[in-house]
């Protein structure tokens, strides 16, 4: 019935309205995924207020009415059991939790960060064959690297995307656990070294939004922030061209420099990116003397035998003044004509004797 439905919608929006003055981006974000998530907060709150409000009210009521000085009320010192009441006490929260549980199951699957988007917003589904934007994200100490494989460019601490285009983020980290979060766009997901997480999102309104890490990662954590620019498709093209015109190339050497710890890093643009750089970052072999993790895992799955157990070399980590910690790594396989199986040098030498 329309009046009730209106009332329900108004009630649901009430908390949001109360807080609207404070720019509560979580409850009222311009990105569709974040909007659905914020909506869930309101739904869950209202469901639980059904229990919480009566409990608080009854607490106040009973505390007042049954205070010792009030002799008018009945005093029943041995009344300690009522099956009916117990049934209500256990059943009422159970029903609310069943409702919330159903909402949880459905929404967790719908809003799974790994699931490609089905809709652009509440009114529009994703058109068939629609273009999507892929961004590869690397959490560094203490800045964010964004690689656009489709456009062949990269940026540090600046992210841009066209409005109403589904974005697929592929996320990893270089050293420690971070969390990739743009509140206006979508929920967060951890960025972890040697592992890839994914996030699917879409921005519905042009604007400039805050992005940051929401998992503490060390000294430069507070300044590990970036801006996310939602813009029209045309503006985005212009932005890509301006990055390409600006020069700078992100190859392996440049990345290894970038990877070194630094704080409050200003925005940087790279007109070109080595095409295999992100894969190398993910597999922790940008330094080509290290064995890539995917190769390592393939070897582990197959087994090579102890005669081929790869030499573990050690390397100084973060070479710089005062840093003298050696960190072990597995040497990369180096296949040559004399060493077709890429055995490490010592084993290859042994094999020929």
């Amino acid at each position: 019935m329309p009046p009730l439905k209106n009332l329900r919608r108004r009630l649901l929006l009430l908390p949001a309205a109360l807080l609207a003055g404070c720019n509560t981006v979580v409850l009222n974000p311009p990105g569709d995924v974040a909007a659905q998530q914020g909506h869930l907060i309101v739904v869950a709150t209202v469901l639980m207020l059904l229990i919480i409000v009566p409990v608080i009210a009854l607490t106040g009521l009973f505390a007042w009415r049954y205070r010792q000085s009030n002799r008018d009320e009945t005093y029943a010192p041995d009344w300690d059991h009522s099956t009916q009441l117990e049934l209500v006490i256990w059943a009422a929260p159970l029903l609310i939790i069943i409702a919330l549980g159903a909402v949880t199951w459905i929404s967790t699957h719908t809003l799974d960060p790994y699931r490609p988007l089905q809709r652009l917003d509440a009114a529009r589904a994703v058109p068939a064959g629609a273009e999507t934007l892929t961004v590869e994200v690397v959490a560094l100490d203490w800045k964010w690297l964004f690689i656009y494989p489709g456009q062949g460019i990269a940026t540090v601490n600046e992210l841009a995307a066209p409005v109403d285009m589904p974005i697929t983020f592929k996320i990893t980290a270089s050293s420690v656990m971070n969390s990739f979060y743009i509140p206006a766009l979508a929920g967060q997901i951890y960025a972890m070294p040697g592992m890839e997480t994914k996030l699917h999102a879409v921005m519905n309104r042009p604007g400039v939004y805050e992005g940051f890490s929401s998992n503490y990662s060390g000294a430069g954590f507070s300044d590990m922030r970036f801006r996310f620019h939602g813009m029209s498709a045309a503006d985005f093209e212009r932005w890509v061209q301006s990055v390409k015109a600006g020069g700078g190339a992100l190859g392996r050497a440049a990345y290894l420099q970038l990877e070194k710890p630094s704080e409050r890093v200003p925005v940087k643009h790279y007109a070109s990116v080595a095409p295999d750089l992100y894969d190398a970052v993910l597999n922790r072999c940008v330094d080509s003397s290290k064995m890539c993790m995917d190769q390592m895992m393939a070897i582990d799955a197959g087994g090579l035998g102890s005669a081929n157990a790869y030499r573990v070399a050690t390397k100084a980590w973060r070479s710089g003044p005062g840093d003298s910690l050696a960190r072990p790594y597995v040497e990369a396989m180096a296949c040559t004509a004399d060493n077709p199986e890429g055995k490490p040098v010592s084993a290859a030498v042994r094999a020929t004797q």
Binding site: M291, D300, G303, V312
Partner: protein
Amino acid sequence: MSDITASSIHGGVGAAAGARFHVSGEHHPESGTLLGFWLYLMSDCLVFACLFAAYGVLGRSYAAGPTGADLFDLPMVAVNTSLLLLSSITYGFAVLEMQRRRLRPVLAWLAVTGLLGAGFISLELYEFAHLIHEGAGPQRSAFLSSFFTLVGTHGLHVSFGIVWLITLMVQVGKHGLIAENRRRLMCLSMFWHFLDVVWIGVFTFVYLMGVLP
């Protein structure tokens, strides 16, 4: 404010009624030692469970290094296992003799148990030294880290058990098979058999399954 009236404080007539609320003689609560030790042992079991879980997750992460198939010397592990299982049997004999209150046989079987345990530890130390010498130490890969930690923690427990066993032998020799010592022997018995059970888990999940592809 309690309801004790002046007359009840003076005892007298109410005394007999009051007896319904207290035990008049000495009350000896049951000894909690065996339960307490069992609870501790279960918590220790949980530590091992975590180490098994770590091995379960990391046990195939060889980092392109040596695998279980490359490293494990199953015949030696079989000898080790028999030493440990035998030591459990000999401890069992010690407990049987304890129940018959025969001091010298108890000490003898304890000594045999200790020697078998020491043999187990020596073989294990030899195995570890050999692996490390081959470059397959705990730092080489996550698999080796979890292997050394799980097997090593078990070995540490056996070592502490041997220290305890020697201490207990001295104490039993000094005070005889008094109630306190019998309780301690039962606790060590639980500990020893527990380590045996953990070892069966180790040699099944780590050694036997570790050599499979």
